[in-house]
């Protein structure tokens, strides 16, 4: 893929370190700006390339915090994060982040198609306009998530499940190697759930790495290779009989 002429992060781009895991989190502690309380305490994790990991825990357990820290949305208090061997922010296009639905102003006048197109922006950088290639990628992911009929709808006029699929479509359009999904299955209808499951299976086939926050214990073993359990900002031992899969944490 060609580099953007004027990349957003000012040309700050690193190639992956050969053989490095997709994600290494070392004794990470994170607090939200302006607060003292640690939202994440001493969490360590190694996610190999191609793994699909579920972060499981109740609300407030630190799942979203961990994903935000990896996406460089929160400053690190102590510890370290390595993405393909590099510090966070070293390769923006390689990391896609799917936010919770509440983070977006859904009433903004933009169509689903254009929302998905914003997933290509990281490859364009400043001043560049989307090419035919970008647009064909957008059409392909919209089709993959069964949203073709809704592509020209304003985004507030989609159901919750459709909005969730639109966000996943955008994350896919970015063609990232590491996907950070914050509650992609939260409060979605059965159709959407099935479509997202198919996407997760497909990502595995492509060797992509997925880390998804969820508090739904239902279908962990079908959608994920392993699960990490969090409570009150720390990693905890999995509850009895809970799905663990191949162990990824250290």
């Amino acid at each position: 893929m060609s580099e953007p002429m004027l990349p957003y992060s000012g040309g700050y781009h690193h190639d992956p370190i050969p053989g490095a895991p997709a994600l290494v989190v070392e004794r990470l502690s994170v607090a939200y700006p302006g607060t003292k309380r640690l939202a994440l305490r001493d969490v360590s994790l190694i996610v190999p390339v191609g793994a699909r990991v579920a972060l499981v825990g109740a609300n407030g357990a630190g799942k979203s915090t961990l994903l935000k820290a990896v996406a460089k949305l929160l400053p690190i208090r102590s510890g370290a994060i390595y993405i393909y061997g590099n510090a966070p922010g070293g390769c923006h296009h390689r990391v896609a982040y799917l936010p919770q639905r509440g983070d977006i102003d859904w009433r903004f006048p933009i169509t689903l198609r254009r929302l998905v197109l914003t997933g290509r922006y990281v490859h364009l950088g400043w001043l560049n306009r989307p090419s035919q290639h970008d647009k064909s990628i957008v059409e392909a992911v919209i089709d993959q998530l069964h949203l073709s009929d809704l592509a020209e709808r304003q985004i507030a006029q989609l159901s919750g499940g459709q909005q969730q699929r639109a966000l996943l479509a955008r994350a896919l359009a970015q063609e990232a190697d590491l996907l950070l999904l914050d509650e992609p299955l939260n409060a979605v209808d059965a159709d959407t759930r099935a479509i997202i499951s198919a996407v997760l299976a497909n990502l595995r086939g492509q060797g992509k790495t997925v880390i998804a926050a969820t508090h739904d214990l239902g279908r962990l073993e079908t959608d994920f290779d392993s699960a990490v359990y969090l409570a009150d900002g720390r990693e905890i031992i999995a509850p009895p009989d809970a799905f663990v899969g191949e162990k990824v944490s250290v």
Binding site: L73, P109, Q157
Partner: protein
């Protein structure tokens, strides 16, 4: 006198031609940036910026400096000040704006009151598009061209940071930097519109056309076009009212925009009432983007 004669007559005068061009240029820049101001819920900042340029204008006037220069400095300083203050958690943004805007406006009034006869006061407060000089017209044109070019160049990032600043940050776009860009452009735009509608009513040209457009379409590109058309139409109607009825041009422009907003509101309400129920769509999310 036939209609065409009636329409053409005012523009036999040079000052009316200048006023027409000024009104069109200011309508273009105000309505365009106004779309972002409305969608990003920055209406209060727009109004505040217009008021805070007053001390700059007065200081420049008293020292016989360029009025534009004085207003621009005050506007840019305020834009940066608001941006800086609103980064802090201690004071909420709207509170900070309220404090700064009234403080600066009061400073302007205080400075004015030190001068016995301040003939231009009403022009500054309420605008006088008929008094635009050719020099000012050149400045207005420069500001409009600059504003439109920068809005076009950074459109995709401005759009993204408006509805999803998180994604912007994740891909390395500094949402805060774009906010500063918008605030500084806003300062320039506000200064250029003061001559037309004055300090007190400038936010009407920023907000009213864009708000009306938001009621009529859910496409951003169309919203820009509709807002610009409404703003320019308001400017032209205001000019005629001022010429034939000898009323305040600024007030006539603003009231025309307000009337057009009312029409947009009626169209929107009629459309909503006609819209068939769609079971898939959550009714609470069908509100306009205001």
């Amino acid at each position: 006198m036939n209609v065409i004669e009636w329409l053409i007559a005012p523009f036999r005068y040079g000052f009316m031609q200048t006023a027409l061009i000024a009104a069109v240029l200011v309508g273009l820049s105000c309505a365009s940036i106004g779309v972002y101001v409305v969608l990003r819920r920055m209406a209060f900042i727009g109004d505040a910026l217009a008021h805070t340029v007053l001390p700059g204008l007065v200081v420049a006037y008293l020292n016989q400096w360029n009025l534009f220069g004085g207003a621009l400095i005050a506007g840019v300083v305020t834009a940066l000040g608001i941006g800086w203050l609103s980064r802090r958690e201690a004071i909420r943004e709207d509170t900070a704006i309220g404090i700064m805007f009234t403080g600066m406006f009061a400073l302007g009034i205080l400075l004015i009151s030190t001068v016995r006869s301040f003939r231009d006061l009403t022009h500054i407060l309420f605008g006088n598009v008929l008094g635009v000089t050719p020099d000012e017209l050149v400045l207005i044109a420069c500001i409009t061209v600059m504003t439109l070019i920068l809005l076009a160049l950074f459109h995709k990032e401005l759009e993204l940071t408006s509805f999803d600043p998180t994604h912007a940050e994740v891909i390395g776009v500094r949402a805060n930097a774009l906010r500063y860009l918008l605030l500084i452009l806003l300062a320039f735009t506000v200064v250029s519109s003061i001559q037309v509608v004055g300090v007190v009513m400038t936010s009407a040209l920023l907000i009213t056309p864009a708000a009306a457009a938001a009621l009529l379409t859910q496409r951003l590109s169309r919203m820009f076009v509709i807002a610009v058309v409404i703003a320019i139409l308001s400017g032209i109607v205001g000019l005629y009212a001022s010429f034939y009825a000898d009323v305040s041009s600024g007030a006539a422009i603003v009231l025309t925009a307000t009337t057009l907003f009312g029409a947009a509101w009626i169209i929107h309400s009629v459309r909503r009432a006609r819209q068939p129920e769609d079971e898939e769509i959550d009714e609470t999310q069908m509100e306009p983007v205001l």
